[in-house]
Symmetry: C2
Subunit: 196 residues, 2 copies
C-alpha cells in the first residue's frame, strides 16, 4: 500500500462515500457544520485567500425560495434534505488578504487590484475550498449532494449580492433509502496521467 491514510478513512472520504439524492430525517446541526469548517479551513489556496462563503438555508421560507430556483430534477431532494448550503465565491476576497497573509500584505494591491483577475481567482480558489468542504462533510459521517442544476442568476439575486457568485448548492445529511445511483465509471490512471 502506497497510502499512509488509514483504509477506513479512505473509504469514508472517497471509496465508499457517495453523492446522496435522498436523506434520512436526522438533522444536521450548526455544531457539525462548525466542526467541518474548522477542519477544512486549513486546506491550501493561492495566497491563503479564503473566497468561499457558505449560506445555510435553514428557514422553511428560505428553503421554498431556493427550491423555486432549482432545476426540476433537483427540487424534491433540495426540499427534503436535512440541510442545504449555498456555496459562493466572494469576489472582494482581497480585502482580507493583508490579515490572511501577514508576511506579504502587498499581495492585495500587487496582484488583485483588478476585478476580473479577482473573479477568476475567487472562482478557482473557492472551488478548491468547495472540494475540501465536501471532503469535510464526509469526515462528519454525512453525505453531500452537490448540484449545479439551478438558476445561478436567480440564486445570486435572492441570496447573495453582486460581489458573491454562486458555485454550487449542496444537500447535506445522512443518506436515506436508495440514496445513490450505482457508481459510474472513472477514467483510468493512464487516461489522466502522462509523463514527460
Amino acid at each position: 500500500m502506497s497510502l499512509v491514510l488509514d483504509p477506513r478513512a479512505q473509504d469514508l472520504l472517497f471509496r465508499e462515500a457517495r453523492t446522496a439524492n435522498a436523506f434520512s430525517a436526522e438533522p444536521v446541526t450548526d455544531e457539525q457544520v462548525q466542526a467541518i469548517y474548522d477542519l477544512v479551513k486549513y486546506g491550501p489556496t493561492a495566497f491563503n485567500q479564503t473566497p468561499l462563503r457558505i449560506v445555510l438555508v435553514r428557514s422553511a421560507e428560505s428553503r421554498e425560495r431556493l427550491v423555486d430556483h432549482m432545476a426540476e430534477g433537483n427540487k424534491a431532494k433540495t426540499a427534503s434534505a436535512p440541510l442545504v448550503a449555498i456555496l459562493a465565491a466572494d469576489n472582494e476576497f482581497h480585502e482580507e488578504l493583508p490579515a490572511l497573509l501577514p508576511h506579504f500584505p502587498q499581495a492585495k494591491d500587487l496582484f488583485f487590484s483588478e476585478r476580473p483577475v479577482r473573479e477568476q481567482s475567487a472562482s478557482m480558489n473557492a472551488a478548491l475550498q468547495a472540494a475540501y468542504f465536501i471532503v469535510g462533510v464526509r469526515a462528519a459521517g454525512l453525505a453531500a449532494g452537490p448540484m449545479t442544476g439551478f438558476d445561478f442568476a436567480g440564486v445570486q439575486k435572492e441570496f447573495l449580492d453582486d460581489d458573491h457568485t454562486p458555485l454550487m448548492v449542496v444537500n447535506i445529511g445522512k443518506p436515506g433509502e436508495d440514496a445513490s445511483f450505482p457508481r459510474s465509471p472513472r477514467l483510468d490512471f493512464d487516461q489522466v496521467v502522462s509523463t514527460v
Copy 2:
C-alpha cells in the same frame, strides 16, 4: 466531537499538513501517484466529468523547461522537488461523458456542445479534482506545494495544447528542513458561514 474521521487522519490531511517549499531527496514513485489517483478519482464532480489531467515532469530536460516558466520565487523549489506535476483542465472532456455517465449519455450534447460552456465547466471541475488530488498527496504521507506563480501561456505551449488549460503546478515530496512558513490565519466560522 462532531467528526467521525479519526483525529490522526484529520491531522494528516488538514490540521498538521502544510504546504511545503523545501523537500527531502526521497523520490516519489509512479506507484505512489497511481495510489493517490486511484483514491481521489472517486471525488464527486458535475455530471461525473473528469477534466483533470496530470503531467508528471520527470526528465531533467523537462524539469529545466518548466523551471524557465516559473516565477522567480518558485524556481528553486520547482528545480529541487522530488516530483513536479502540472495540473490542467481538458476542455474537450465532454467526449468522455457518454462513457462516464452511462445513465445519461445525452448530457454531452444537451449541456456541453459549446466550447465556452465547456471551458468554464472544465476549469471548475478540474479545480475540485485538483483539491482532491492535494488531499490525496497528503493521504500518501507526502507534502504538496501547489503554485500558480508561473507563465500560464508558456506552460500551456511547452507541455499542453490548445484544448488543455493549466491550473497549477504542484511540487510533491517529503518535506525538508524549514519546509513551511508559520501557519497563516484563517477566517473564522462566523466570517464565512451565514444562515437564512
